[in-house]
């Protein structure tokens, strides 16, 4: 059964993109030419695609703990390239890359 995908919206932007369940948020956004989340290694190692999920369910692949600590993970910080949506989602974007969130 082919999932139609989930609606992903970025807080503060009116754009909504559809992301398939089997693709990362980063590649879903990239498919729409969406540049709010920068693409780096796409492998969970460099941290430039760091975002925070405000609403919605998701799963994650392996990510470098340097960029998402256990505590940050509990606060729904994640790396878009290793985040796979399980429902519609609302995210905020750290456009400065891996700077610490305040």
């Amino acid at each position: 059964m082919m999932n139609k995908g989930f609606q992903i919206s970025i807080q503060g932007s009116d754009k909504i993109v559809t992301c398939r369940e089997d693709e990362s948020l980063l590649s879903g956004l990239a498919r729409y030419g969406q540049k709010e989340v920068p693409a780096g290694c796409r492998q969970g190692g460099c941290g430039v695609c760091k975002i925070r999920v405000l609403k919605g369910e998701f799963e994650t692949g392996k990510m470098s703990i340097k960029h998402v600590s256990a505590m940050e993970k509990d606060m729904n910080f994640t790396l878009a390239c290793k985040t796979f949506p399980k429902s519609d989602m609302v995210i905020t974007v750290n456009i400065k890359g891996d700077r610490k969130w305040q």
């Binding site: 780096g40 796409r42 492998q43 392996k62």
Partner: protein, 308 residues
């Protein structure tokens, strides 16, 4: 013997997030040979055109990046001399006993001013799967994947690149082949160091954070090999950064791509032959696009920001 002292980059130890995926990447895609897995979990690999036992070591960890880059030294006299000079310059030098890695003799280890650990050693066992020496065919084993010939060099990012340059030039006998300098201040932004006839064996870029890895590079035979490597990257959906293209610096041809943990790799071919009497080649920062990506003539967003 014309090349003495530090001979070449010998091995790197890379941190990976998932060993199984990393083995597929380095063995099946890049084309390295598995040498073995040790009790501590580290995996040892080599490229098919290398004589020595291993050159790439993978260590599973929850953080990507580089543990250590090591250089092979021609004899113990040099190793002792380097140790003495490093200590004389105030570096803390750690002795690592033979056997810490299988088949490797004693090493000395120090932390460079850019926050990178470098090891130096003289002895490593020869591999049974090295290049043939008696009426040699071009390869003993059939090359696989991207057909990497050898581990070639690293580009590392850190703060005090002038400090690390000084160690490699003054103590370890390297020369600087090329630099990128700020147009106004002349401050070095990037530098390329060689201990051999290659255009670079180690490169450094000034960066706000110490101890970072930009890429680990593998030599391939020629431009056509880069095309074949690019085919493999698309075929297996490997995260590609840029290329095939050419560097203005070194004039090498290149593709940058990422391993499954986000560590950048490069397949590289060509580049000029360097001799220690060559004048320094200088790039102004205003021409850095051409210096790094000669065809694009501009850096991509990732060049300065994406490191592990």
């Amino acid at each position: 013997m014309a090349i003495s002292g530090v001979l070449r980059p010998g091995f790197v130890q890379i941190r990976v997030l998932d060993m199984a995926e990393s083995i597929i990447h380095y063995r099946d895609r890049i084309g390295l040979e598995m040498v073995g897995t040790e009790a501590d979990g580290r995996v040892y690999l080599k490229a098919y055109d290398e004589f020595d036992r291993h050159s790439i070591i993978l260590r599973e960890c929850d953080e990507a990046g580089l543990d250590v880059m090591a250089f092979k030294v021609s004899n113990e006299t040099y190793l002792d001399e380097y140790e003495e000079k490093l200590r004389g310059q105030g570096f803390e030098v750690t002795a690592i006993a033979a056997g810490e890695q299988p088949g490797v003799g004693r090493r000395i280890s120090f932390m460079a001013p850019t926050g990178h650990r470098f090891d130096l050693y003289v002895d490593m066992e020869l591999s049974d799967n090295g290049p043939m020496t008696n009426n040699p065919d071009v390869s003993q084993l059939d090359p696989r994947g991207m057909k990497a010939l050898r581990f070639d060099h690293c580009l590392l990012y850190g703060g005090d690149i002038d400090g690390t340059k000084k160690v490699f030039e003054d103590i370890l006998g390297f020369s600087t082949s090329e630099v990128v300098v700020d147009d106004d201040t002349g401050m070095i932004i990037a530098l390329f160091l060689t201990c051999s006839n290659k255009a670079h064996d180690l490169a450094l870029v000034r960066h706000e954070e110490d101890g970072k890895l930009h890429h680990v590079s593998f030599l391939v035979e020629d431009w056509t090999s880069l095309r074949d490597a690019a085919d493999i990257m698309t075929r297996y959906d490997i995260s590609r950064d840029i290329g095939p293209t050419r560097h203005g610096i070194t004039r090498g041809q290149t593709i940058y791509f990422f391993d499954p943990s986000g560590n950048r790799n490069e397949v590289f071919s060509g580049g000029y032959a360097y001799y220690p009497d060559n004048p320094l080649r200088v790039w102004q920062a205003s021409s850095v696009g051409k210096a790094i990506f000669y065809y694009e003539r501009e850096l991509n967003d990732r060049f300065m920001t994406v490191v592990t």
